[in-house]
Amino acid sequence: MERDVAIIGVGMIPWGRYPDPKNPTAYPERTMPEMAVEAIKRALEDAKISWRQVEAMVAGVYLWVSQQAGVHGILSGTAIANLMGYTGIPIVSVANACATGQSILREAVLAVASGECDIALAVAADKSAFGFFRPQSTDAKADIDYIRFVMCGETNPAYWAMECRRRMYEAGTTEEDLALVKVVTSKPAPHNPYARYQRTFTLEEVLKSPMVCDPLRLLMICSTSDGAAAVVVCEYEKAKKICKKPVYINAVTVGTPSFGDPTVRLTYTSSFKKPGVPTLSESRNAVQRVYKMAGLTPDKIDVIELPDNSSWHYFAYLDCILNLDPGEPEKMLRQGDLDPITGKIPVCPSGGIGAFGEAVVAQGLAQVCELVWQLRGEAGQRQVKKDLRHALAQTYGYAGNNAATILSKGW
C-alpha cells in the first residue's frame, strides 16, 4: 500500500433485537441508521476525535432492504450522515453480503492508503431477518435465488447441512465434534457484554436440541440478530501521534470464487466442477491474499475470529485459514488447541457468531472490534492468555462474497 494504515477507534452496540420488549432500556426502538449512529459515537469516543474530523465514510448496505428499509437501506451512507449531520465528505454505500463489514473496512483503508484522506470511517448496521432467510423478489426471470427457493426449498442451514454431512462422510467428523464447537466457543460468551447470548452450553444441551437440517441441530446453527459496529482508520504516522495503541492493518481484502469450484453456493442451483479447483475458493482466495499482502504464513497467526454460522463453518473455515485437511481442525478442537482463551491458537474469543447471532453486514466489523480489544489487552475476562502479535479475522461467504483482515500491534 502507498501509505500504512492503523485502527485508532472501534465501537459497537450490544447485539440483540431493537426494540426488545423484555429490556427496552438497553434495547430501545432503533432504525438501522440510528443503530449505526450509536456505533459511530462509540468509535469516535474511542479514537478521541470528533465527527468533523472524519474525512471519508463507507457504510454497509442492509441485506433485507426490500422488507425493512427501502431506499434508505440501499443508500445507507447518506441516511446515516443525515443523522450525524452532513459535512460534505465522500460517502459510499457497499453491499457485499456477509463480507460487507470487512469490505467497507477495505474501502476505508484504501481511501487513506491512497492519500485521499488521513482519517476514514467504516460503519455497518443490520437488522437481520428472523428465522430462515428468503429471496427478496418473486421474479423467476431476474432472480435465480427465487428459483432456488421455490423449486428446491433450500434454506441456508440446509446448504450448510449438506456440506456438513459430506464432511462427516469423508473426514469422519462426529456429531459430538459438531456439538463441541458450541460448547467451546460459548466459553467466553458470559464475559462479553456485546454478545446476545452471554452463557455457556453443555454437550448434552447441544446434542438434545431440536434437529433443524440433519445433521445440524438448533444449537449448532447461529441465530440472526440486530447489531451495529464502526471502525476508525488513520494514516499510520499520524495514528502513532494521536493514539497510544494504534492497531496496524497488515492486510485487508475481499475474496471471490474461482471458476470450477464445486461448491453450489447459496442463491445458486448448480456448479460446474474443474479438476484441482478447491471448495470454498472465495475464502481461500481472500485468506491467501491477506497472507501474501502481510508477508505472513498461517503459523504466525496468534488469534482468529471466524464465522461459526454453523459448526460445519467452524471446521471448514479453519481448513482455509490454517491450510489444514478436513479432520485436522476436529482433532485440534478435541485436544483443546482451539480454546478461545487458553488454546494454542485461540478461536473466537468474542464467543463467535454463535454467541452473537449474525447481524449479517455488521458481523465482519464486530470481529475486527474484538481483535482490536484483544491486541490492546482490553478484553477483560475473555482476554486471550498468550502474547498476541498477529490476529486474523475472516467473514462468511454468502453467494461467493468473502473478506479477511490481518491486524497487529502498531505500538
Binding site: G131, F132, R134, P135, T138, A140, I144, Y146, I147, R148, F149, V150, M151, C152, G153, E154, T155, A158, A161, M162, E163, R165, R166, Y169, P210, M211, V212, C213, D214, P215, L216, F259, P262, V264, Y268, T269, S270, S271, F272, K273, K274
Partner: protein, 152 residues
Amino acid sequence: MNGEALIKKEKKKVPIVEGLFTWPSDKPALIAARCKKCGAIVFPKAAYCPNPDCEKDPGNMEVIELSRRGKLWSWTIQRYSPPPPFKMEPFKPYAIGLVDLPEGIRVLGMLATTENLRCDMEVELTVGKLYEDGENEYITWMWKPVEDVSKK
C-alpha cells in the same frame, strides 16, 4: 359439470417455474446450456459461458438436456417449513440433495423420499408435487434413488 366429474378428472401437472426441465414428459430432464468452445455447463441456462477465459458470445451457448442419472453427493432433511415464497401444502419434512452428473455439473434439488438416503447412491430425475389448486398440481424436479435391481 358436477362435483363428481371434477374429482375424477386428473389434474394437470404444471411446473412452478416453467422452462427448467422438459415437460410434459415421461422422462423429464433438466434444461441447461453448454459452451460449444470449452464445454462448461450452466443450470438454469444462461446467455454467457461462465469460463473467465471464454469470449462472452451468446452464440456459443447451446441448450442441452442434462443426464437423468447421477450420484447423490450429499443430502439433508429440512425439518421446518421455509417461509414464503416457498410453498408446500401440506408441509412435511422433505429431503434436499446435491447431485453430481456425469457431465461435471453438480445440481441442487429436492429428493422424492426422506428414507434410506446415503452419500454416493445413484439417483434419477423425476418430478413431484408441492401444492395444488382446483385445476392444477404444481410440480418441481426431484431426485429419487434408483432401485437396486440386483437385490430383487
